[in-house]
Each structure stands twice: as C-alpha cells, then as structure tokens.
Symmetry: D2
Subunit: 406 residues, 4 copies
C-alpha cells in the first residue's frame, strides 16, 4: 500500500468539503484513516482534519491525490511547483496541470503565489521574475513560457459557505423546479441586486432570443433603465430579434398582438439589412432609426454590449465578433470584475460564460428546460440559483422586487 | 385488383379531408382515381369528390376503407349496418366496430341514426325499437344488446372548419411554443370565454397540482368568482394542495414567501386529516375551517367539482371517487354539455378527459412540457389550442383578458 | 434563545448526515455549537457528535428539532412517546407524527420499539400490549387505536453508506445522464442481480407501456424466463399493449415492421375484448389464446402480477384493481420483502411504488425523461441509480450482463 | 376590395399545396373564389387550380400574395422581376426579396431563370449578361450587383410528393416519437442508403458530442468503413471527445467501463494539446499517435471533414474554422451536391446545416429531445424523417440494416 497524508482547513463540514474528500477516497477504492480532527464549535469557527490516504498503487494514489487537491486537500510536507518550458507556441508541456475554477496557489521557492484569474480548464504560467502565476489558455502561451506540470506545490481553496448568512446564495440545493413557488426567491434576489448596486458591484446579463420572443424585452429594458445591468452578453440573433421587434413590431415575422398570424424570416433579414446600412447598433440609435428595444436601452444607458457570432447566424450585424476564439478572449476580459450574473433563456451562451467565471460570482440561471439550468449552475455550487420557469414572468417579478423599498 | 368507390362531402379541401384521404390511400400502398370533383367556389360552399380506390387484396381494401371512413369517406351503394348480439355481459361481439370521436351515423332499415354521444374508442349499441344508437364501453353492455359489427352502414362526418371565422379555434397548426409570444392568443381566448358565457355555454377546467404549487391558484379563484368556471375536474392531490395552502400557507411544506425554506409532507397529511375530520370539503367550508382557496371558491360559487383518485394519492379526502371505472362514468356524464375546456398543468387528467370529448368541444391545453400539450390536443384538430408556458402567467393574463371590455 | 442538545451516531460524515444537520440548522436561521465530536479513524468505525442547537423561539426550535430528528438526530434526555386515541375511524389525532421512509424507533416505557414497516407519509400506531409500533395510513385506523403525537420519544436512523463497498448502490450522485456512457453501470447492475438471485432476494419490476411500444418486451421476457423477475407491477394499459402485440403484432394499431403504417385503437380494444371474453390473462394463456408476450411469460414462470387501473384506461381487463386505495394496499403488501426494484419507462407508477419503499430497497429507474428519473429516485439517496436512456437498449444490455459469467 | 388571380400547378392536393394556400388566405382574413379546378385523376397526374384572392387593402393583398407565392402560387399575368443596385457592399437594396428553400425562378425579359442554389433566407442577385440568378447572403454582395426587389416576376415550385413511391421520405407526418417502434423505419433507411451509394449519391453526417459520449462512435466508424459517409460536419468538441476516447479511453475523464468513476476535463485538454503538438488530426494519424476512433476512420477512408468552432470550445485543435461566417461559406459549398443527410445528436449544428439545404436533400434527424428533432426537420416537409431516440441503438440498427442484403 502506498500512502500520503493530507490536510483540510476551513468550513470543511458544512461546506461539504470533508464528506466529498472521504467520498472520493472510497469511490476510488482507496482507504483513509483520520489522524486528527478539530471541528469548529460555532458556525464562524474553522475546522481542521489530517487524514492518511492509502491506495494499492503509486499511480492510483497520485490520481486520487490530484482530485483531493481540487477539493482543497493539501499534501503535508509541501513541495515547490515543477515548471516546464513551452517549446511550441500554443502547445503546453506534457503533463501540464489543469486548473479548476477555485482559488488556487502555487508554491514557488517556498512561498505561495495566487493564480489569477481563477479560471477552470486552463494551464498555469509562472513568471519567476515578477513572481506571478496566471491561468492561461492554449493560444496565450509562447515559446519559453514556464508552465506548471504535475500537481506538486499546488493548493486549492474551495469556496466555503459564508459565516455571515446575509443572502440566498448559500444553499446546497439551489434549484427551484417548474412546479415550485418562485416569488420568495425572486424577491430575495431583488434585494441582493439592490445591495449589489449600492456596493458598486458589477451586474452582467447573458440573454437569449427567447427573452425577446416571449415579450420579456420590456422588462429587461426596465432593469437597464434602473441601472441594474452593467454588461450584456448576447448573440447576433438576440440583437436582431430585438431590432426586428423595434423596427417592425414582429418576432420572426409574427406580430405578438395578432394570434396565429403567419410568420417568416423576411423582417429578420430586413432588420439585419437596416443595421448593416446604418453601420451598427449605436449608429442606428444615433440616426434615430432604432428608437426602442433592449439594444436601444443599452446604448442610451451606456451598458457594455458584447455580441458574439454562431454557426446559425444570419448577417451578422456590425459589431458582432464572428471569431469564437476572439470572442472568448473578449468575454473573459469583460468578466473579470463581474460580481453578479443573470443567465436568461440561453443554454449555449450560459454554459460558455459559466465556464469562465471566478467561483465567487453570484449566478442566477433562468430557463424553461430544467436540464439546461442544472448544467449552467453546476460549477458554482454555493454561489448559484437555478429557476425553471418562463423568463417573462421571472423578469416582471424581478423588476417589481428591485423597485420595492428595502 | 379489388376496388371500391368512395365519396367525400363538405369543406374537404381546406379542412384537409381530401388530402388526408389521398395520403392514407398512398401510405397503404393502394391506388386512387378521382372520378369526379366539384370544389366550392367560395369559402362557404361545400365541395364534393368521388374516388375509385383499388388495392391488391380484399383484406387490404377493407382495412383501408375502414380508415377512409374515419376521415369521412362514404362508400357508394350504402348498406345497412350489421348487428350482433352480446352473449356475455361486458364483452363485445367479435369484429365490433370501434368509434372515433367524430359525428357518426348508422344506417338501419335504410335510414340514418346519429350515434350519441360522439365518443371515441367505444362500440355502438343499436336499439331497434327505439331506433337509437349509442356509443358504449365494455361495462355498459349486457347480454342480448345489439352491437354494430364490421364497417358497413356507417358514415363519419369529420369536424370541418367553420365558414364564419369568428374565433381562434380554426387553425390547422395551433401550438404556441415556449419561445413564441402568447398575449394575442390569450386575449382572443378571453373574448371567446366572454362569448361562451353570454351564450350559456358550459366551461370546464381540468387542473393539476402545479396550478396550486406555482401560486396560480389565486388567478383560478378569480375566474371562478367571475363565473367563468362551471365544472372543475381534478385529482385528490390537487384538492389537498389547495387545502394545505389555505390552512397552512404552505405547498408540500414550503412557504412560498420564504426562499428555500425546508419542505415536507407533514402539512399535506394534516390537511387531509382536517378534511377527513370535517367530513369533506363542503363541510369544512360550512364549518368555517376552510375559508380560502380554490376549493372554497368552488363551494361558494356552486362550481360542480369532480375529484378522482390515483395510485399515488395520500388520503384520500371524502368525496374523491377512488374507483377509476366509476370515475370515468361520472366524468363522461358531466362532460355531455360542456362547450369549452381548459386543461391546466395536468398531463394524466388532460388526456383522460380529452379522450371523452365530443369533437366540437373547444379545448385549450396549457403546460410547460410541449410533448404533453401536443398529445392532449391531437384528437381535436380544428377545435383546440395548445400553449407551452407556465400556468401562472397564462391565468393572470386570461383573467385580465376576460375582465377587459369587448 | 431556546436551546436543546442533540446527538448523532454512525457514519455521520461520509453518509452526509452531519453536514445535512448543520445545513438545516443554518437554513432555519438557528445556531449550533458542537460540544463534542469523535470521528471514526477508519472507514468502518462509527462517528459521534453532540451539538447544542439554539433558536429564537420555542416553536422554531421545535420545528427544527423535528427535521433534525428525520436526519437521525436524537434529543439528549430521551422521553417516551406521547400517544393519543383515535376518536373517528379514518382520522388521526391532531398533531400526529408523520413518518419518513427511514428506520424509526419509538420509546415506550423507557424501551425502544422499531416501527414496521418503514413507510413514509404515515402515522405510527402503537399497541401497548403487544408492544408493537406500526406505520399506518388513514384507512388503517379505527376508533380507540393509539397514535403517536408530537415528536418526543422518536429516533430515526438514516440509511448509511455500507462499509463493505461491494455494489454500485453506494454513490451520492447516482444519475447517469442521456449523454453519458451507461455500459459499465449496466454491467455492474447485472452482477448485482446475479448476486440478488443467489441470495434469494426478491426482484420487482414496474413497467410502463413504453416497454412494449419500443419493442423492449422481448428483452423483458428473457429476464423473466431467466428467473430475474419475481413480481411485476403494471397498469391495465401495459397489459393490453402487450396482449395487442401478442395477438395482432401491432402496437396501438401500428405494425413495428412496417414504417409509418397507420395506427389506431381498434386492435387495442379488440385485445381487451379477447381477454374479457376469456375471463382474464391466465385463462387466455390456459386456453392457448395468448401464446406469447410478457404477460404470457409471467403466467408461465409464475411471476406475481399486480395490475392497477388509471383514469385513462380502456377496459379494463379482468384482474385489474380499479380502486386506487385497494390497489395501494395490495402494492404495499407485495413490496414487503422486495430487495431490488426496476422502474422501467413509467413515471406515474414509479413514483407511487417509490413512495412505498423501505429505505434499503435497491432501486433502478430508467426513462428517457431526466426529470422523471430524478423524482423517482430522490427518496432513496444511497440505494438508487437513475439512467436517462431508452428502455430497449438498456434491457438488451442488462440481459447480456446477467447472462455473462461472473 | 382588392383582388388578384393566382394559379397552382402540380400535385397540389396530396402534397398539401392547395389546402395550405386556402389556409393562408383564410388566416390572413382574406377571401377566395375558386374559378377553375382540374384534379388529376390518377396519382401520377398533375392538378391545376385558378383562384381569385381578395383582401381589404392593397398592402394586405401584397403581403398575402407574397406568402402564397412561397407555397407555389403564380400570379396570372406574369411580370418581369424588378432589380435594384447595391450601393454599399454587404447591404441589400431596400425591399429585397427573401428566398425560401424551394426551387425558385425569376422572369427576366420574359424568360424564366432558375435561382441557384436553392437556399433559404437569402436575396437573389441577377447577372443580366450571363443570364444567371444566384441566392446570395449579405457578405456575398458588392457595389453595383443587381438584386431582386419586390415579389413580381418570381415563381416558387414547392417540393411535391413523388409519384413513384419508392422510399420512406414521402410522408406528411414523419416524426417517430420516443414511445413508438423504430425498427421498420431504420431498415427502410438502410435500404435507402444502399440505393444512394449505388446511385453515386453523396451522404453527409452532422454529428454531436453525444455520439462519442454514448459510445456510438464505434457504430459510426463502421458506417465510415463501409463507405456510407462522404462528408462529416462537426464541432471542435466532437473531434476532441473522439480523440480523448481514442488516446485515453475516457469521455470527459470518465472511463465508460468503470461505473461512476470520477470525471474531469484533464484528458479533454490533454487530447487537445496532443493534436496541437502534432499539428492536426491528419498529422496525428500519420505519426501513428491517433490510431483509432471516428476522426482516424475519416482520415483513413478519405471522408471530407468540416470542423467548426463554437463559443464554448476549448482549444481549438488545428483545422477548426473559428470564424462563423467563414464556416458558413465552407458548409454551403460542401453541401451543394449532398443528396442524403444524417443529423445525429446535435441541435445547434443540425439547425445550421438544415437552413442551408436544398429542398430535395433527404434528411434524417436523430436526437433524444423531441422538440429539437421537430425543429431540425421542419423545413424539409416531404423529404425528412425525425426519430426521437438514443443515437447509439439507432446507429447500431442502421449498421445492421445497411449490411443486410437487399
């Protein structure tokens, strides 16, 4: 048997860290022996555990330890990180360490450096001179960069339940299903957004075409007008649906005020043509051609708009980033100081954005499809809420909630 | 080749009857020759077609003709129906004719008698003396009853598009998907219900537990108070959810005003116990123990309540019909003079009720699951609308629509 | 502040009991202080914790303690249970205790008695003379019966992860989603069923019409023939689909071997008529009228069949229990010694059966709808597996797996 | 009242063209009068109808006629098309005609020219000198190009049901739901693919990651090896999943042969790194680093691979087109001579590809989500089949079907 000793610190019991670590050990067919455990007496006290882990082979132990580190386990007798040089630009060294979205430290010359930003599915580039560590994607690295390999010298600190329970983002089970009441959650959320705005937080919205199609656009405009949206991520299609609605009053050719009126893509294409003729959304607002709708509200209230392209787009309209790698870079940059994120009716974008989040961003996902909601929030366990419902009534109630006095 | 001549009459083109008949012939590998066709010049004129149908075997032709009859085809050279006697109570004679939910006539001694009620998946019992024909279920028949066998002497008249296009129940494609606007349809529906009430129509609602759980109950109460509900079909669970909400303010133990408050079945069971102790819903209202909620509104406004049991029920409360065959009999009886039907958030009950409808009952189905909605309305092609959405915002908007002046 | 001291015993960390208890305390706005904690050093050792819980009101503390008990917390300074007499048959005393599906003990005259069976959403009837405690439903109680009220004197022992990890029913997260590989799980399940049969376990199958409609019936027949099914729960519709397939080769009139052949309910009704004429399934097998299919295999291999009615049924065929309360009684009785349960393509029945299970029954749910699967297994956290997939390929692979040598 | 006369030709009844035209007229609140109708006596005969259409305003009539043209109606007294010049590259003239995916002709100087390719949601550029008409996207047009405006001089010829009913792509209702048998359809499809290969048709497959994740890759490899795939469209993620499976035996870190083994993104990222280090898929095959899997089979059997990027991608691997406009151009080019298309487990790509199809491409869509399937095939009404099922059993049965002798 091969064994190693690990340590866990923090709110390891009520944030589920210790149970998850023991679960991983058992699931991998390994064994544990708890050498020491101190459980904080009160909620605000931290706990500590020291555990011997043993497995049948050295490889199995290594793989297991790698996982336990991702849950916050530290290996006793800490080593420095191992680094290897990039030999081809865009290619990591063999055996590069893959990050989680949790706060991560690397030990360099006996001292710990925090990896910034906290971004999952990246490698870690270390700059020895500047003593910085950075989460990097393939296209970020150049020949000669030094990348962390193996898993020695790395410490992960999972998000833990806050001890001052002031908001609703603190629950282990945070899905509100289709047949459950949602008012109370939405009102708590309204209060959270009020607090966020006062604290100079940064609120981002990711919105899908369904927001416009289900006539929820008006509610989103109100949120924008009241100053609750700092950043809007959307696709080309979302912007075009909104412009079609503003210019022609239709949605894929359907007039929401006429039941079963025939639809079609003509107005969708004419909307694109109009914006292309103007030179872009902002120009269309300036020329008073686009005088209502969400995009108009964003321009008027200086909301930062990030539009990205997809393989299904018509157009696109000017201002859309059509290269997906370029779009990812822009999104990551814009997300750095976001504190709150609303994912509204858009599976594809939601999951893209969710994979770029720091673990502390408070995230709400709203969609009519429960599986989509679950997937969008699964990486933010103590920081996210999923609601399975129509976007329109959700936004209507949220607007009422942020308007209400505290 | 074996062949037979059929005739079609009515709005056979725009009600899709002729295309469907030709489609069936082709799909069955048979051939057709249109001998005569007269198409009504204007919308209000009827059309006529006479078609020779030929197939490779006599059996194949018979099976095909059976289907064509269900689309309204009449076989030229009409015969009288064949009848056979029931020898064992509850068992039909071999080769009994199976009804559709379309208007159906049987030819007896050279004269046609309408089968009443128009109910699908039944046999037809003919009373020679009274000259009546009745759609019957297995348990309806006794030794000696005469049942139609084979498919001679039967004429089916499918529902056809009305020529005075005054309402929204006249479209071939009547699904409103999750991402489509719904306001216009709901407002048209409001006007339709206003007309229905003036014309002394009878409006039935089939409601599932989600109506209560998503806080839509208040809206349904308003519909009841305004006199837009004559009949309520629901399960034991629906009634209990409503009572739990009225007595304890909770829904499966969850307080809708407290986010993520723990839930549980205690209050559900206590609600049942309270109603059992009172002796029933009406008694609980009379004793002023039940003073709010949907069931309370039904008692106060004399809405006819039909509660049925299911295998998953707790309790049940008094007044629930726990025998499913008995429950079907009651439902069929109550449905006889219903003109409008709202199916709200309940797959199981919706499909049960839908299978008992006359083809002219105007039907609206609302649910968050699109497949369920489609199935609930598929048997009422020119008389139904399906909306894929949350029940709560649907009902809220419907209440506003029926309140609006015409 | 009001406070009480609770104790937890067993595998309270890796079975998530301690974290859940602390989570409940925090969620309810209460506080805790861990007075003592002993964590088992090795996997097979038990742990212990003593915790002071405090809340702002006596009522809030009571409600919280009730929930903590359901997670296995014992209140220090144990009292005897309080009992109250039933005054009206079928009605529990006010404030009756509502059971979970966990192992439960009541303290009577200072000694503990186990409540049997372990069944959720019931009251507990205590027989002082026989010193027995029984989980009872409303219809089980008569005047004079003594029922547990309040929550003193009750101890709940949650299912804990087994320390001898021999099977796959030991994981916290046990859903296999539509896009995940399933072979390994199905093969482990095959081995589990082999072990179950050798150990004289009792395997029950709950099957929905989709099993027949998707042509999975043949695979289920093989499981039956190999002796892997002791008990079959199904609805009237399931049996009729199977008989239609056996008698006419069709499924709702569709011949699976002819693409897009028209369907219809005729054969469904004729199948019912045939079984009614015979007097039942077993009689039809005896008379050699029913010579293939699942029902035939059940009769031939002496599988115990329980058929229940639903509001949507045609027929029914003889042998179906149409009263749902009666059906529940039968199901509960039959489930007593079941050790393994397969829920195949049937939401309604699955949830009914799942609500009657003892917490130790190993349960597998297979359906194409992920939400249905989750709900069916949610009450059996460490004893269940959900697979989101078609039933046909699942059964085909399971048949191969149980055939394979160990 | 404003009125115009239209004519319809072809299989206008059994291909549903006449009923749809009448439905559109009624739905738009207009009126019709059928002046002349000749219905083909036999299946292979064409029919003809001349209809007066009248509406209340000139605008309403125009909008209606536009729609009727899209269903194949020709306006009597045919005019030449109107053309307008492009003044800004990338912007169409005001009032440009928007194409459907049906065969379309423009009348220039009294003679008709076919628009090529038949592609929906495009404008039509006419080259007077070469006498050609081309469907163009925004980015295709330059200053001075002449674009069709208004809707005069355009004739649309909808796909009509073939008169020689030799395949399964001829049905009006072509969805096979989750609970319906699929064997017969899959076997017919196998025969269709056999015929396609003999007739030198070109078969394209669009595949999503679920194909690899559900272990269906092996079956797709067999189709490739037998020569049934000429072209593969997929995303970066699909290729990476396949490479991860080939290199490490895992799928997002999960080993399909170990139940509930922990997963993760490490191997996914290492797979990308390996292909980046090699310089691409083909290079990795040549260097014998990639020796199995779908991508390997494609390289070995000279299948044309088109990989496109999405906003959620990691990597990407070399060879992926990351600019979505560029990717659309490549896809359109490659689709030109495709005759058969299989859409397997991929909503996003399926709809993108489906929107680029000529109306005669025979299309099959397979996915576990019924709404996705319906949307993918809705634009190919008489040329498509949708199956709601797992991809793996579908492909397994299809492989067996194409192997079977005819």
């Amino acid at each position: 048997m091969f064994s190693e000793t690990i340590e866990l610190r923090g709110h390891i019991i009520d944030s589920l860290i210790l149970p998850k670590v023991l679960d991983q050990i058992v699931t991998h067919g390994a064994n544990f022996k708890i050498k020491e455990i101190k459980v904080g007496q009160k909620r605000e006290n931290q706990s500590f555990a020291r555990i011997d882990v043993s497995a049948e082979s050295s490889d199995a132990l290594d793989e297991l330890i790698l996982r336990l580190r991702q849950h916050g386990a530290e290996v006793v007798g800490r080593a420095n990180v191992n680094l290897a040089k990039v030999t081809d630009a865009g290619v990591f060294p063999h055996d590069f360490y893959v990050t989680t979205n949790q706060q991560t430290f690397v030990r360099l010359d006996g001292k710990e450096i925090e990896v910034r930003p906290a971004m999952m599915d990246s490698a870690i580039a270390v700059n020895r001179k500047k003593r910085t560590a950075q989460a990097v994607k393939f296209f970020d690295v150049n020949e000669g960069d030094e990348i962390v390999v193996g898993h020695q010298g790395i410490r992960v600190v999972p998000v833990q339940r806050s001890t001052s329970h002031t908001d609703i983002f603190q629950f282990i089970n945070t899905m509100v299903d289709a047949d459950e009441p949602k008012s109370a959650v939405i009102h708590e959320l309204g209060r959270e957004l009020q607090r966020a705005r006062e604290a100079k937080g940064r609120i981002a919205v990711v919105a899908g075409p369904a927001v416009v199609r289900t006539e929820a656009g008006e509610q989103l405009e109100r949120l924008i007008e009241m100053g609750y949206v700092d950043l809007l991520f959307a696709g080309n299609a979302f912007a075009v649906y909104d412009v079609e609605r503003a210019l022609f009053g239709t949605s894929l050719g359907k007039n929401p005020e006429r039941a079963f009126a025939g639809g079609g893509h003509e107005n969708h294409l004419r909307a694109i043509n109009t914006i292309r003729a103007c030179g872009g959304i902002a120009a269309a607002v300036q020329k008073k051609i686009l005088t209502s709708g969400i995009m108009h509200a964003c321009v008027k209230h200086k909301v930062d708009i990030v539009l990205t392209g997809s393989i299904r787009d018509e157009g696109p309209i000017p201002g859309v980033t059509t290269d997906v790698v370029e779009a990812q870079k822009i999104m990551r940059e814009k997300l750095v100081d976001v504190t709150h994120l609303l994912l509204l009716g858009t599976v594809q974008h939601s999951r893209a954005v969710a994979s770029m989040l720091a673990p502390t961003v408070k995230t709400v996902c709203v969609d009519i499809d429960s599986a989509s909601v679950e997937r969008a929030v699964e990486h933010q366990p103590l920081q996210s809420i999923g609601l399975v419902t129509d976007v329109e009534p959700f936004l209507r109630e949220l607007v009422a909630a942020v308007r209400a006095k505290k």
